[in-house]
Symmetry: C2
Subunit: 230 residues, 2 copies
C-alpha cells in the first residue's frame, strides 16, 4: 500500500528515464497525492524511449502521467491532482473559500510558476554549451526572481500555501524543485525551507522511492531527448 496491483486507480509512468529526469517525472505528483490520501493505486509502466503507439490515444503528447479509474481516463498531472483531491478532504478542502484558494494556488503553480521552470529547464538542457543560453540567462533569472518574490513573501511565516497541506503544495513544491538551481532561488530562504518541508514528508519519500524503484531493473536504452512527463 498504496501500490496495489488490484487497485482500481491506475497510474501510467515510465519504466526508466535518463538520470537527469529520475525523481522528477510528473507521475511523482500523483504518487505523492495517493500516499498523502492513503489511496491505493496500481502502476502501468511504459517505455519512455520507444513510447508505445497506442499510448498516444490516451495521452496526445505521449507524456506521463495518465490515470485510469475504472472506466474513467484522465491526463495532465494538474487535472489528476484535482481528481484525486476530490477523494480527500485534507488534500482539497470542501469549504468554498479554502477550496477556491487551493485550486487558485494549484493553477498558480502550474501556469504562473512552472512556465519559468520549463524555460529554465530548456535553457539548461537544450542550451548546455550554447551561446544563446549564456546570453539569455541573466534576463531569465530576473524573470524567475519576479515570479518567486511573491511566493517567498507568501511562505514567510507559513508552513503551506493555504491552511493545511493540499494538492496545491504538491504542485508548488514539485515545480519549485525544478528551479532549485536558479540564482533567484538562492535569494529565497522561505521557499528553500518550504521545499525542504515538503520533501521531508514521509508520503513524498515513499512516492519518490516508488518512482525510482523500477528504474534499476530496466536496462538503460540509448540516450534520448527526453520530453519530461507532465
Amino acid at each position: 500500500m498504496p501500490i496495489d496491483p488490484a487497485a482500481p486507480l491506475e497510474i501510467t509512468a515510465f519504466e526508466w528515464v535518463p538520470e537527469f529526469a529520475q525523481g522528477f517525472v510528473r507521475d511523482l505528483r500523483l504518487r505523492w497525492a495517493c500516499e498523502e490520501a492513503g489511496l491505493a493505486y496500481r502502476e502501468r509502466l511504459i517505455n519512455a524511449v520507444e513510447r508505445p503507439q497506442w499510448y498516444f490515444a490516451e495521452q496526445p503528447w505521449g507524456q506521463v502521467p495518465a490515470l485510469r479509474d475504472g472506466d474513467i481516463r484522465l491526463f495532465e498531472s494538474g487535472a489528476i491532482l484535482l481528481y484525486l483531491g476530490e477523494r480527500s478532504e485534507t488534500l482539497l478542502p470542501r469549504e468554498p473559500q479554502p477550496r477556491a484558494d487551493t485550486i487558485a494556488w494549484l493553477f498558480a503553480a502550474l501556469n504562473t510558476v512552472e512556465p519559468c521552470g520549463i524555460e529554465f529547464a530548456n535553457l539548461n538542457f537544450f542550451g548546455a554549451n550554447e551561446e544563446w543560453a549564456r546570453l539569455r540567462r541573466p534576463s531569465l533569472e530576473e524573470f524567475i526572481a519576479r515570479r518567486l518574490a511573491p511566493l517567498e513573501q507568501r511562505l514567510a511565516g507559513r508552513d503551506w500555501l493555504t491552511g493545511g497541506f493540499t494538492i496545491a503544495d504538491i504542485a508548488m513544491v514539485t515545480v519549485l524543485r525544478e528551479l532549485a538551481d536558479s540564482a533567484a532561488m538562492r535569494e529565497c530562504p522561505a521557499l528553500a525551507a518550504y521545499i525542504a518541508r515538503g520533501l521531508a514528508r514521509p508520503a513524498f519519500e515513499r512516492a519518490l522511492a516508488d518512482q525510482l524503484a523500477p528504474f534499476s531493473t530496466h536496462a538503460p536504452q540509448q540516450p534520448t531527448e527526453n520530453d519530461d512527463g507532465r
Copy 2:
C-alpha cells in the same frame, strides 16, 4: 448584459494596457466564459502601470484577472474558468468522462501548451534585437512544433477539443493565439481553422470588445514592462 454593475460576480481587469497586450490580457478568458454561459458580471478596473498595493493581497503577483463572487475570492484564469464552468453545463459537462476530458484539456492548454507561448512571448518581447533570441529561435520553434503536432492531429476533422465547446476551448484558443506568429503554427492548418472558429463566436467578439472598451477612455501612461495578466 453580461456586464452589469449590480452582478454578484466581479472580474478585475486593467483599465489600460500597452497596445501589444490589448486583446490578450487574460481577463478575456473569463469575459468569454461569462458571455457563453450568459453569466452577468461587473468589472473592477485597476491601473496596470501603477498597480494598487491593496491588490497584491488578492493576487500575489498583481496579475489580472481575479474574481469575486459574493464572499468568495479567486485568482488564476484557469481556476476561475473551472469555477465559472461549474455554473454552466455546456461549458463544463457534468457526465464523468466528458467532465474529465474537459478538465484534462484545460490543464493541457495551460500547462503543456502555454509554457511554449510564454517562452515565445519572452523571446519576442525581451529578446527583440537581442542576439540570444536570434540564436534560440530555431530550437524554440522545434519545441513549439512538437507541442502543436498532437493538437493539429486532434483538431483535424473535429470542431472542438472534446464534444462541444467548453472552457477547455476558451483556454486553448486564447493560448494558441499567443503562438499565432510562430513558424510552427503555419504548418498547422487545422489549428488555424480552430482558432478562427473560436474567434468567430459572437461571445468571443463581445468579450473582446468589452476588454478593449475602457482602453480608449483611459489616457496612456508611461511605457512599462508589462507583466501580462494571468
